[in-house]
């Protein structure tokens, strides 16, 4: 059976290449989508696990104003820690983050950076009541919630997920149609051979199995190519992403997870290839 399938594939290499390529493209998109999903879930989980708000003060805020607010927040018993970041500290952090860009370093001084406090709440539900206190305080310029960040991220990833799923749905449909067409052509080309086999006593299974196996092989090859290509790109750009996301502990993404992902994709791709071939067989081998 395996040698028959191998012969069928070798006989029409361009068709085989097309089938494997479209499957590869589909499962490249699936891999990218899956990796981005894993990354976004980790990203969102990180922010969700940190009930925090950051309070930026106006330049006119005195240290007494800041201390009063800190005391007010402490007295609620809803905070686990409050850390003060002065203009100078902010500049240090800024310099640390942009040490590779001297132009940015030259443009910024401590004066233009606001002083701030980072308030860690005991629980995420406490953030709203803490925010009420902060907003009522004098000389507060801006309050940034992690919740806002999470909501924005969820909205973005949700949109990306919908677009990704739509692209994958289109590619899966196209792959299925391409496999059906290619297997259909092969069945048509071998019609006489199939007829002879039937007349000599070949069972339906014997005739159909090589075609199903052929579709499965295209799926297998496509998923390996697509999965490895996506993983390669991801690992290539990981250092840049890591630097961009600064301290959010998403990386490293374990190779075991990627391997597991590729294995699941291989299973899905084999099923898709075999399913598409089965449709072709139903259509062309009545």
């Amino acid at each position: 059976m395996v040698s028959t399938v191998s012969k069928y594939i070798r006989r029409s290499p361009y068709q085989a290449l097309s089938a494997a390529a479209i499957m590869g493209l589909t499962f490249f998109a699936v891999s990218v989508f899956a990796i981005l999903t894993i990354v976004s879930i980790r990203f969102i989980s990180y922010f969700e696990s940190r009930p925090q708000l950051t309070v930026f003060f106006k330049d006119s805020a005195s240290s007494a104003d800041i201390k009063t607010l800190e005391k007010q927040l402490n007295d609620t018993g809803k905070t686990s820690s409050i850390s003060y970041v002065s203009k100078e500290d902010a500049l240090k952090i800024y310099k640390q983050q942009n040490k590779s860009d001297p132009i940015l370093l030259d443009l910024v001084t401590a004066d233009i950076l606001p002083a701030s406090i980072e308030v860690q709440a005991n629980q995420a539900e406490d953030l709203s009541s803490l925010a009420q206190i902060v907003k009522g305080a004098p000389n507060v310029d801006q309050v940034v919630f992690q919740k806002d960040i999470v909501d924005t991220l969820v909205a973005w990833t949700g949109a990306a997920r919908r677009v990704g799923l739509a692209v994958i749905a289109i590619l899966v449909t196209v792959s299925t149609l391409v496999i059906i067409t290619i297997i259909g052509i092969k069945i048509t080309v071998r019609r006489d051979e199939i007829e002879t086999m039937r007349l000599l006593g070949a069972s339906n299974w014997f005739i159909r199995a090589p075609f199903l196996l052929e579709g499965l092989v295209y799926g297998l090859i496509g998923s390996i190519i697509g999965g490895l290509f996506a993983a390669g790109i991801f690992y290539y750009f990981s250092p840049a992403l890591e630097s961009f996301l600064r301290g959010v502990p998403i990386f490293p993404l374990s190779p075991l997870i990627v391997l597991e992902l590729i294995l699941i994709e291989m299973l899905a791709a084999c099923s898709l290839g075999a399913f598409a071939s089965y449709l072709a067989v139903l259509r062309y081998l009545k």
Partner: protein, 266 residues
């Protein structure tokens, strides 16, 4: 062995291709089916291997009533009836030996064993040394022998030969006929369609078909069982020849011998 009872085959409202056909081919006999092109010879063969279903009537092979044979058993039936097709149906991209061993692939036999058996059969039909050639490299007579070897691969009870000498010269035609007769002598029923009257002996069993009807059914002068009895008596007196006959039948052939009765029982 092969029994047609009032068999009719008709496509739609057109004139029937076969019209209430009746005949019986005895086990171990050699019977000719003759008639002009379009008289229904090939249709009869296709009905026997259930490539077509009769519109009416009953066909039995031994104890097996074909109408009661379920669809999933049809491949098994076809492995029990060797067919030499009019157009041979050799696969041109496979070598001679691969063509002969093709049906064994369906039965799940391993390649080395199948190849060995195919090579034995090719030797039996006089094609030793041609195993690895392709059908296009062979002469018409040789291709016909390949088709015969393939038909023999399961050591069937019946061989249907549809115009096996159709495109061959007279000398080669008689060689093919001799080959089929030698197979028949080993007990295989041969049912051969032809329109070449010169091949037929007066003592042979002949069914004449015309416009889908049996217009003449000449029984063989010596009945098959008489043939067998004569042969038995002959073998008793010539033990050397008997030994030779046994050795002519390769072991592998008897290993894969399939009886139609087993299909009926199942």
């Amino acid at each position: 062995m092969i029994n047609f009872q009032d068999v009719t085959k008709q496509y739609g409202s057109a004139d029937p291709v076969l019209n209430k056909i009746n005949f019986i081919i005895d086990r171990g006999s050699f019977a000719y089916l003759i008639g002009p092109t379009g008289s229904g010879k090939t249709t009869i063969f296709r009905l026997i291997i259930k490539d077509l279903l009769p519109s009416d009537g009953e066909i039995t092979l031994g104890e097996l009533d074909l109408s009661s044979l379920p669809k999933e058993k049809v491949p098994t039936l076809r492995r029990k009836v060797g067919v030499i097709f009019q157009d041979l149906k050799l696969l041109l991209d496979r070598t001679v030996v691969e063509n002969v061993m093709l049906p064994l692939e369906f039965s799940g036999m391993g390649e080395p064993e199948a190849r060995k058996k195919a090579e034995e059969l090719l030797a039996e039909v006089g094609l030793s040394g041609k195993e690895d050639q392709f059908p296009a490299q062979l002469s018409g007579g040789e291709r016909q022998r390949v088709a015969i070897a393939r038909a023999l691969i399961f050591d069937p009870d019946i061989i249907l030969a549809d115009e096996p000498t159709g495109n061959l010269d007279s000398k080669t035609s008689f060689q093919i006929l001799d080959l089929l007769k030698s197979i028949n002598k080993k007990g295989t029923t041969i049912f051969m369609a032809t329109h070449n009257d010169k091949l037929i002996n007066p003592e042979d069993r002949v069914i004449v078909l015309e416009s889908g009807k049996v217009v003449e059914d000449r029984r063989a002068k010596a009945k098959p069982h008489e043939h067998a009895e004569k042969e038995k008596a002959h073998e008793k007196h010539t033990p050397e020849k008997k030994e030779e006959k046994v050795s002519e039948t390769p072991k592998a052939r008897s290993d894969t011998k399939i009886k139609l009765e087993t299909l009926a029982e199942k």
